[in-house]
Symmetry: C4
Subunit: 209 residues, 4 copies
């Protein structure tokens, strides 16, 4: 164990924190059919991430592995999620300390509805203040909607210019779900909850108008 290139204590603590959060997200129905994946930065070279295909409502420490910031598994036989690169590109840039990728019905429906526009603009809500750096509702955010692909290098390359343009707290992938992040698990969760809420309001208003 002593030869691990990361702290086992940090791994254990991160796994516990992610298990608690993902259990809540699974109970909300945001991780259907073993979808979704979750990660936390461990140090300046490593992150912990969920293994591929696990039921997110029943995770144990054995369902996590460590990857480096290029997305390669470290000292493990487990297979990381196919989408690992979308997590680690954020850690490599120092843009996030935690990445939560969920798959709620609202996120998926919104992604399909706004895929052709390429983005969804949201403005005028008090809850825009939930995004780190915002201090008023008198603002607007753009949520990008990227085309889906099974090739993560293509997706990651599309994310890079969005991060350059920043600030960015998350994006949708068409027919797929939402990536949200933050400095730590609490901020990532706050951003995730704000995205879900605002998307749901926008869909409701569209039904009602």
């Amino acid at each position: 164990m002593s030869s691990l290139p990361y702290s086992k204590a940090a791994f254990d603590e991160a796994a516990r924190a992610l298990i608690a959060t993902t259990a809540e997200l699974a109970a909300l129905g945001w991780t259907p059919a073993t979808s979704s994946n979750f990660s936390l930065r461990l140090d300046d070279r490593h992150a912990i991430i969920t293994a591929s295909g696990r039921d997110k409502g029943r995770l144990t420490e054995d369902d996590f592995l460590v990857v480096d910031h290029a997305g390669a598994p470290v000292a493990t036989a487990l297979r990381p999620s196919a989408e690992t690169l979308l997590h680690t590109q954020l850690y490599a840039r120092g843009a996030a300390g935690c990445v939560l990728h969920t798959h709620s019905r609202t996120q998926t429906v919104a992604s399909r509805l706004f895929a052709s526009a390429g983005a969804l603009r949201i403005e005028g809500y008090e809850l825009l203040k939930a995004f780190s750096g915002n201090s008023t509702h008198e603002t607007a955010i753009e949520i990008p909607v990227l085309p889906n692909t099974q090739d993560m290098t293509v997706l990651a390359a599309q994310v890079e210019p969005l991060l350059d343009a920043g600030p960015l707290w998350g994006y949708l992938i068409d027919g797929h779900g939402l990536y949200a992040w933050g400095r730590d698990i609490a901020e990532a969760r706050r951003h995730l909850d704000a995205f879900e809420f605002l998307l749901a309001c926008e869909l409701d208003l569209r039904r009602l108008s």
Copy 2:
């Protein structure tokens, strides 16, 4: 402790009551992304209120502070919610013993939909009897919808004439959520639940008609 200008025992009891109620409201999804705030009158000069920016599903006694009826913090280093003044104006007038401000999707969507009209009229429901003083469904209530602003003195000034005109059990703020109140926590909760239910029915009927 003995030098506190309010009863510490009353503070403890009020905090316990608010923690229980806010945990229920958080579980319903009415306090997304650390939004919403809650208060209870302590005595004729003081009220207890949630500190700014806390997760409403995990409150402890340390997440509450005391403010006077003008909204100023009393014997605390904690920062009260930015919206404290909307709570304390009701205590200063003797209009309420408890104020619950939530942020449900239904409340937020209704506030946006009826913002330009400035109010929403609801009539003909048995549940109108839930509002203190009503004894029949053969009545109507008006729920005011105020424009949102980060300047609480402006908002509070708009609330004053509505309170003068009374009876009033709550109001919406555009893109923001609902303020509801009552003599005590049970009545405030009953009013809150009735508002949420009636707003949801009205939105459903609009979708269906």
Copy 3:
């Protein structure tokens, strides 16, 4: 105690059964703002019923009283629900052993939508077999929608001819909610759940068509 005209043991058992069922219905959000009421037949002269205005998610034995089959309180200082007569008319006729009156959003919205028609016809669902006596989906039921009034004798008089025409498992009151009943608490609950499900499906189909 020995002078009570009903069995205290039967009262205790009935209260426990109703507390368990109403807690489940409250958790579903079908009893908002202390609305709704619930009763169980005790013997050929008495029934147990919820007292007026209690929070249905937190009932204790003290929130129940006994009424006779004409709706008059028996050996109690508690005030029965204003709607007691709608329960006891079913016991007086021998039409039910348990009556569940709830107030879900679906029930309330459906009642308003079909009030002018006076009834809602439902056909072609497998779940129609949930209503006692039905053995196929190739049937239809009519759910009456009665105008609301605070005068229970008027409402009860409107229910009588519906019961004469039978079979009937429940009815809606406009802007108010649903009465459902059965031989015992399990059958009443099965009928209630079937009504809620079928009404929700009908509203969804109306939105989608």
Copy 4:
């Protein structure tokens, strides 16, 4: 006991697994009014299945019986679900190790909406990868919608050519609900959750477009 033609230990283990899963499905509201039924393959001649008319949120081992792969009860006085044949035809063909039949509002509404078309085509969702054998979202599935009948031999005969044409992970019955299956209980559940999610998204998109 030693004369049972199946393993009592396998029965006990299967009952425990099905009780846990059905309790979760009941909590989601997918088994209203004692509807729905669930089975697990025991061996190459037997399966365990829920008895008729039980509350799926409160199952005990006594609510299960064993049937052979032709659907006949084995060494039991319990009555199997009327729909047993739809389960056992899958075991007889070796097409499944577990069958979950639920009755959610989304499934029921979708079945009615697409009954006249006879099928619902779903494409472009990342969650299509949840169905065993799919490895990309760039695919489509057809969910058959069969006419409802109380004659299970008629229904089973309609399912046979669909299974021949395969791959198939489930089908809808009009006004009735969904059958989903998999190699084991985890895969059947994953398929069920994916169907529910995708049907809900399709209904949402229909409302929004």
